[in-house]
């Protein structure tokens, strides 16, 4: 299996039960997912359990994924975050139907290591440009799964302030990522 094959080609091979295609996708995206899982959970064992489970789900249900409509790394990141936050909050982990639920559109292609490294630098740069309190609010929402009300309770800031802060943060982040 060509390690440089596109995500769409590899998904098709997985549908045809080619386990080497799954190995290529694992090598491509496991590092990225492991980082976000560890950042949310601070628990290596739990992070690795979820990581293995996500790729096994991909193996079982790849036929449901339309690579021409959505981005595979985007979908993997959304699932990883959802599962980790469910575990963090002791909710039941999501079942196996997420492939059909949400289409995740990512403008960037992250199929190569170089593209991933460049995007990591770009995202870090975009977050660094945010004022400290906006960045902290976005990180509380993303990495701890907190809602507006929960962030307000945690930081002691008024709910209205938190809402304005997060709204401005996502707006600025979008501009920074597009610049």
């Amino acid at each position: 299996m060509d390690a440089r094959a596109s995500d769409a080609a590899l998904i098709q091979r997985i549908v045809e039960r080619d386990e080497s295609a799954l190995a290529v996708l694992y090598d491509r995206y496991a590092g990225m997912l492991s980082s976000v899982l560890n950042r949310i959970l601070h628990d290596t064992q739990a992070a690795e359990e979820i990581l293995q489970d996500i790729f096994y789900q991909l193996w079982r249900t790849a036929g449901n994924f339309d690579a021409t409509r959505g981005s595979l790394p985007g979908w993997l990141m959304v699932i990883a975050r959802n599962r980790a936050i469910s575990r963090l909050r002791r909710h039941n982990p999501a079942g196996g139907d997420e492939l059909e639920e949400n289409t995740v559109v990512m403008q960037s292609n992250l199929e190569s290591n170089v593209a991933q490294t460049q995007m990591i630098g770009k995202v870090k740069g975009a977050l660094e440009k945010l004022p400290q309190e906006q960045r902290a609010a976005i990180e509380l929402a993303y990495f701890e799964g907190l809602t507006h009300t929960e962030i307000a309770a945690k930081t002691g800031d008024p709910l209205g302030t938190v809402k304005t802060r997060l709204r401005t943060a996502v707006e600025t982040l979008k501009k920074n990522l597009n610049s």
């Binding site: 090598d27 980082s35 560890n38 959970l41 601070h42 929402a141 507006h148």
Partner: protein, 262 residues
């Protein structure tokens, strides 16, 4: 904002982030269910918000995860390229005399087929491992080239990190090129406590410290880290802290090593 699409672009990002709640969340869900344009906007918001995860300190999974996954998968696979045809069976009594002579031969043939199939699976696994190794080597070569280029650059600075009182004793050196956003850490520290990890930080001239990697001490205590940070980040110091296992987004533990950029 229009009545047809009663949400602002940021609402989709806030929903994807999980910050919306109550009536705001329900109203957006109800509208998206019946609006293709907003469903598309929500998909884009999910993709944008997912990128935030890339800012997490990089942690590689242990090799055992992939091994377990592939064992799990091979257990459910029919093997690549294998076609299994189920033939209608015949009762033994229907075999004519001379066909009985073929039974041992057919048995031997079946054993050989099974052996061949297992051998193919083994070869597939070896090819996968070689492909993965090749990809890893390509990445390492590209990284080493960047490091070599950086070492030869005039604007690369060398920062010595000194040990701190009442902390694990060690030493380290960081080579950093702000323009390229590339740093190389070489250090030696004793083994961290089981529930702790060391974490390397770039302290910029403005803004919060940036994580440059979480690491465990290897045998002999030596570590080498190559990390990327946003190009153009001006550093005023580098530091190593002791953090809960897996690292933290901002330093919380004591400084173990610290070195200002002169």
């Amino acid at each position: 904002m229009t009545n047809a699409h009663p949400f602002r672009a940021e609402d989709f990002d806030l929903y994807a982030l999980g910050a919306l709640e109550g009536e705001e969340k329900r109203a957006l869900e109800a509208h998206v269910d019946s609006c293709d344009v907003c469903t598309e906007q929500l998909g884009e918001a999910y993709g944008r918000i997912a990128l935030i995860g890339l800012a997490a300190p990089q942690v590689r999974p242990s090799p055992g995860v992939k091994e377990q996954l592939m064992r799990q998968v091979v257990g459910t696979s029919t093997g690549r390229g294998g076609t299994f045809v189920v033939m209608p069976s015949k009762k033994p009594g229907m075999l004519s005399g001379w066909m009985w002579a073929l039974v041992p031969l057919a048995g031997g043939f079946a054993v050989a087929l099974v052996f061949l199939w297992l051998h193919t699976l083994q070869l597939d696994a070896q090819i996968d491992a070689l492909n993965a190794r090749e990809q890893e080597q390509e990445r390492e070569i590209a990284q080493e080239r960047s490091v070599i280029d950086m070492l030869g650059a005039k604007d690369t600075v060398v920062v010595s990190l000194a040990e701190q009182k009442q902390q694990p004793q060690g030493t380290a050196r960081v080579l950093y090129n702000a323009k390229r956003g590339l740093l190389v850490y070489n250090g030696a520290l004793p083994e961290a406590p089981p529930d702790k990890s060391y974490q390397l930080w770039l302290v910029p001239t403005t803004g919060a410290p940036i994580s440059a990697g979480v690491f465990e001490t290897t045998e002999g205590g030596a570590n080498r880290i190559v990390a990327s940070v946003p190009p153009g980040t001006q550093a005023k110091a580098f530091a190593v802290t002791l953090e809960p296992r897996g690292g933290k987004p901002a330093p919380t533990g004591p400084f173990v090593l610290l070195g200002p950029v002169s």
